[in-house]
Symmetry: C2
Subunit: 472 residues, 2 copies
Amino acid sequence: MTDKNLPEPPEHLSSDDFRKHGHALIDWIADYWERVEELPVVSHVAPGAIRNHLPPNAPETGEPFENLIKDLDSVVMPGITHWQHPSWFSFFPANASPPSVLAELVSAGLGVQGMLWSTSPAATEIESHVLDWLVELLDLPASWKTTEQGGGVLQMSASDSTHTALVVARHQAAKLGISPDSMVAYASTQTHSSIQKGATVAGYGHITLIDVDEEQAMRSQDLRAAIDRDRANGLNPVFVAATVGTTGTTGVDPIRSIGEICRNEDLWLHIDAAYAGNAMLCPEFRHHQDGVELADSYTFNPHKWLMVNFDCSVFYVADRGPLIDCLSILPPYLKNEASESGAVIDYRDWHVPLGRRFRALKLWWVIRSYGAEGLRSMIRYHVALAEQLASRLESDPRFDLVAPHPFALVCFRCTEGDEATTRLIEAVNASGEVAWTGSELDGHPMIRVSIGQRATEQRHVDALWALIDELA
Amino acid sequence: MTDKNLPEPPEHLSSDDFRKHGHALIDWIADYWERVEELPVVSHVAPGAIRNHLPPNAPETGEPFENLIKDLDSVVMPGITHWQHPSWFSFFPANASPPSVLAELVSAGLGVQGMLWSTSPAATEIESHVLDWLVELLDLPASWKTTEQGGGVLQMSASDSTHTALVVARHQAAKLGISPDSMVAYASTQTHSSIQKGATVAGYGHITLIDVDEEQAMRSQDLRAAIDRDRANGLNPVFVAATVGTTGTTGVDPIRSIGEICRNEDLWLHIDAAYAGNAMLCPEFRHHQDGVELADSYTFNPHKWLMVNFDCSVFYVADRGPLIDCLSILPPYLKNEASESGAVIDYRDWHVPLGRRFRALKLWWVIRSYGAEGLRSMIRYHVALAEQLASRLESDPRFDLVAPHPFALVCFRCTEGDEATTRLIEAVNASGEVAWTGSELDGHPMIRVSIGQRATEQRHVDALWALIDELA
């Protein structure tokens, strides 16, 4: 019984055309990575310039696919700031890599949802397994594995991970009858904006920022005093965010002493190691997070330094019970035998969204393609390049390092003063040959040089130094 | 001055190998889409079966890329439930399509961050522009465009959009001195779990669920009464979520009468049209959201029915002021001239995360590749197939439709009773030939048949009907 009046479905790109254009776009990306070094790092289009190329209305009928590819070069590229440029020394890296991009392609093509174990068991099990691998690779507490009491889940960004931790801690405290209005979250003055934003979003009434010492690390004795002061004022301390590798200067908060305070005071300790957590692949950096076993939650971003393209943020909890207790809601259309058996993980209960891609595929492929040794050598190479640049700056009387450089970020100023620093920031950016970030510390300008793009070589850092030397 | 003691960086997959494996994986996806119809729709692996294939530890040295591709077939595929199968009648669709998947590939390869306008102007401007296109395509209020008072932003999922709306509404109410503990969010009993979850996450003290009528639509007179009752009890009504196309049965809440209540009571009206919003491309469905101009925020998911692969959720606000006021935090390392000029949009201020991919590329490519007419014809084809199936069920005494079917979801039961319905659910699922969802309504089992996979044709729905006819 076929209805002859049925409307026609649309035509899709044929399988042959998909193959043809797919091959062309793979080559387009390979070409892009080969030639990106020749492009100006930062886009200099004026606001509105890209929109001016776009027609005011969507097309009524489909366009040939060739037009889309053509516009990639003519419309899109002028508005791209090249995060994959080897002279990208600006924000922390957001590295794409061949195995990661190919996994992203496959994940999109499979188009499965990993919200429940049952909606694609491979998506969930590979995620749990690979995050358990990383517990060992980073020497994190074994109890954080999904096979133990804790567990890892892929979030989109460290902001999401931190927000989730804040919400779970708030939920736990609310069960004791504490109002969010009276809850306090603590972090250092050098903490990433996502902590303050996350606390606002999660509805904490108060955020107390703790001073840092000359090494940009939270003063734990000040934390101790602030907790007492807040309690005396009738507030309820709930959450502490400690950072390993702050965004401003890669400062490292003293995890053990902060952790001991949290244990004594029954506060949730969250560690934000978004950037520096990747370095824990190498044993020589692990002393920076001594005391990590005192944490309730921990986040780091393989999409920064581990060659997994954005987004891929890892979130561990020491105990998955409170997380699931806070975030699990079960409507009838999601009920299924596997979930009810308790034998599986349903990752929808581990974060705010319900739907989720096959997120782990690219992390799995990157670890397998490079091997742990390959990933470690990337970290060590960048750190060595940063040390080299820091030595040059340190031994030159025109420059002052403004903070330690435990990883691969070097922060400095011109000894001549603020104006000279600001002039140098602008002169280097105007060259178009490199990107770096002008920032501030203690009310004075400073320059952040982040070394971590996967294609960055000695010669790129040498060229940066030559530019600094010439323009200072 | 080159340090000879510098460690070696890792070897990356060569450009040639990336091209070779990239071409192979494009073909792998094309082959997959061609053969997916022959695979059992739902994976039937046992819990742990996929993990059992994986080595207990990560590899120390890199593996040949061929191994990764091989494991795609041997390890991953048995654990995949095929959302791209044309006999996918289970959850609402999550369609991948050729232009979308190719755009996802390019976005991953470019690897840019769209958190600020300045970090890649093309990412921001194409997003704003395409979401303005959609305002016209869907006949939403013109004031919601980014060029006017409102604006659109791509979120990851409708859960994220709804959570964001809840947070902004809470933030506005808190400015009036109202405590979140006393705030009430309203939704119907048929609302998606993300509303309840979002309200919990956002810290609302109360969620009041309003009964639905026999068409599964919220009773607005009951909403009115509940608001009065809650106020009388000292609570503070803040937020109403109205749904156009509920997940259970595609029920449609009366937007105009709910909107008028919200205007009179100064409540935030959020519309969740995650699935059905896509149908508004076609004028004949727009009467279902009459009154949409009364909304403060609106979400729908092109990753459901518009052939943009997950994730791609659109979030509109009628006024972007409160959104940015709630979510903007500006640390020194994010300061830049373009943002300070006020001439650009920085999308980091429009959602919880900071980092974001070049999200709009795939939406732009899909709209251009299919054209508005192509997208409309997809919707109309699916709706016609659903009407056809509903007619067959309706005219057969063995079955009862349990709800209207305004879009492409058909919900029914066996007239014989609950046991017969449950038996039918299981018998059809056991066949492995199709996937559908057994759910519940009013405490009794029912069957959800969602027609919307992009490759679904008349013959697939005919085969489903034959199966129902045989097994009932």
